[in-house]
Point group: C2
Chain length 375, copies 2
């Protein structure tokens, strides 16, 4: 049975309702239709999903969406708007007319629409049914994420080769006579990904002390003998699915503390991967890494290992499941990252990140990029 039908039955609602653009992962998942203006999705118990979109998008939606397509005019909006000038209230009347008087709405339904719906219907707020559906990938979705990770692999190869081939003058990196900057590497990588139909944004190429901030994207000329963290998370434009990968490299041997951190992180990643399988929780795997770091003398507080071990990847770069303190059971079909990192202000940071899928027996890694600190 469709998970949404189960959710509807459990709470006695007539229909599930979502209102978002397809920048919202749940909307893209349920409609497989890409439009950047907000629109309505609803699904009545036992019926296929329906989207209600503007006249202008009608023909394209009929071609592209997996949902049944209805225009706002067909759903009666122009008539409603003759009497009701408040757009949220008019929208709510249209939705209730089509979907029913007891509605299960998504958690992120806009507050203004919730209030307007409450004037006409009993409204229950769903607890993440679609997010949970999305966490378990079909073979098709796994193929899509694997394909993006393959392009990411090639892009990482380009980034590392730019650093590898750089020349060093007075401790700074140069490429073809010009300073080799974070921006240059980022743009080169993002262009190559664009050629593969992938959109990468805010690709992290951070160097030196910036690496101690996990999300600093980096800027300026790259420096020899310092860690360089490269973290890319492109999205395939055609499918909407993301991949995620991180490597840390240095041009020339870095400080011994960085080398030690690198080796410990590489071990932590292997340890985590060996623990991943169905019926183990994300919290347990995360804790195993926290304990391992602790044995090796690294804390997991506001320094050291400051973030979660990993996260699901799909139509969002961060989605369920969580590999962290709040992590629940892992299940076959989860696509997840494993990304231990250590961050010490003044010293720097190191992170390695693979992505793969939980299988019936363990973890199938989609990431085959070598680990090599000094390039």
């Amino acid at each position: 049975m469709h998970a949404l039908d189960m959710a509807l039955k459990n709470c006695g609602a007539d229909a599930f309702v979502l209102y978002a653009s397809s920048d919202d992962a749940d909307m893209r998942y349920l409609s497989r239709f890409v439009v950047h203006d907000t629109f309505v999705f609803f699904k009545r118990l036992g019926q296929p999903g329906t989207i209600i979109i503007s006249q202008m998008e009608g023909e394209r939606a009929s071609r592209e969406s997996i949902a049944t397509v209805m225009t706002r005019t067909q759903a009666g909006l122009p008539d409603i708007m003759k009497k009701e000038k408040n757009p949220w209230k008019a929208l709510a009347q249209m939705i209730v007319g089509q979907a029913g008087k007891t509605l299960l709405v998504s958690q992120n339904l806009p507050a203004a629409l919730l209030r307007a719906l409450e004037e006409h219907a009993r409204v229950l707020v769903d607890e993440g049914t679609v997010e949970q559906m999305r966490a378990i990938k079909t073979p098709q979705e796994i193929a899509w994420t694997k394909s993006v990770q393959k392009h990411t692999n090639d892009a990482m190869a380009l980034a590392v080769s730019l650093i590898h081939k750089a020349t060093i003058k007075k401790g700074m990196l140069y490429h073809a006579g010009a300073p080799l900057t974070s921006e240059y590497v980022r743009t080169a990588v993002q262009k190559q990904l664009m050629d593969c139909g992938c959109r990468a944004v805010e690709t992290i190429v951070s160097c030196g002390k910036d690496t101690a901030l996990p999300h600093a994207i980096g800027s300026g000329q790259l420096v020899a003998h310092e860690p360089i963290v490269i973290d890319m998370f492109p999205k395939d434009e055609a499918t909407g699915y993301f991949a995620d990968m991180t490597r840390t490299v240095a041009k020339g041997e870095p400080d011994a503390k960085i080398v030690e951190m690198y080796n410990v992180i590489s071990e932590a990643k292997q340890l985590a991967i060996s623990r991943i399988k169905p019926k183990v929780t994300g919290a347990e795997v995360h804790q195993a890494v926290v304990d391992f770091f602790s044995e090796r003398g690294y804390e997991s507080t506001t320094r050291g290992f400051v973030h979660n071990l990993g996260h699901g990847v799909g139509l969002q770069v961060h989605e369920l499941p969580t590999l962290g303190a709040a992590g629940l059971f892992l299940r076959a079909g989860h696509v997840i990252t494993v990304e231990p990192g250590l961050y010490y202000p003044g010293t720097g940071g190191v992170r390695l990140e693979d992505m793969g899928t939980v299988t019936g027996r363990g973890f199938s890694n989609f990431t085959h990029f070598p680990e090599e600190l000094v390039v």
Copy 2:
């Protein structure tokens, strides 16, 4: 007085609350901090805005945000979570603790958070105060959008030159011996924009019958003597501001119907621009174009002029004000598009789009790209 303070005074609320990632334009506007995970912004009456973010983002936020920065730990979340396991309820307790017991929340606050806040506070839903603030641009914001439109101009020049230089074999376009496709032009344009620090996605390069669908992005080999609609709306990564421009061209004279539509649209654009000034409504300018098309024998129904005349541009590609039936008064500092289009299934579509700002006396056009149908 700050518009949010005015809104708070008017409804007697203690604080305004927003919960979103900075992919949300209101959040980026109020915080000027870029992070893709959701976080809290609140502003108490007469106080500066505050963001509550994860420990991990604390240092970067302190460097980059215009808001006061507080970590979730400083806001007491870990202690709350010892007793309250539901993340929405815990978040709501934290917000009420910091912001107060009468809250004005944004229209798009997630429904689940609204319900959780209602357990502890009186909650009023705002009616778009921040969206309205965003519509009137500061000189700095105008400079940012103008700068993106300049890059867009250069990208349009590249697209048109690729088509201009193409050779024709059996009615199809070729570039350097290979088929010249929508995808090739799109990628070339997007890469050039990337070199300027701009992210363009889903750039429309549609040809022939696809041009009759305003939002079809186009695919496959370009065809001679057919309209080619090029619509680009890049975002400057550093500032978050968008631009928007459309031109329609043809390699070789197209059908006389297309030529006539092109000339009428060019006139419609000039007419619209001549009507734009403060104290005129977006609805009036739109209607003037509808009337003009009608005089020339073109309808504005499900065929012909099927969309609004224009829209605001800023941190969103579509924002206030509206140049359409629902359009309110235009004001100095609005940054808007003027984009008449005509669409006839079977024949094709033509659209021209400029972007500029409403000034005290009229319209200052940021778009200087020539209009030339046959290239």
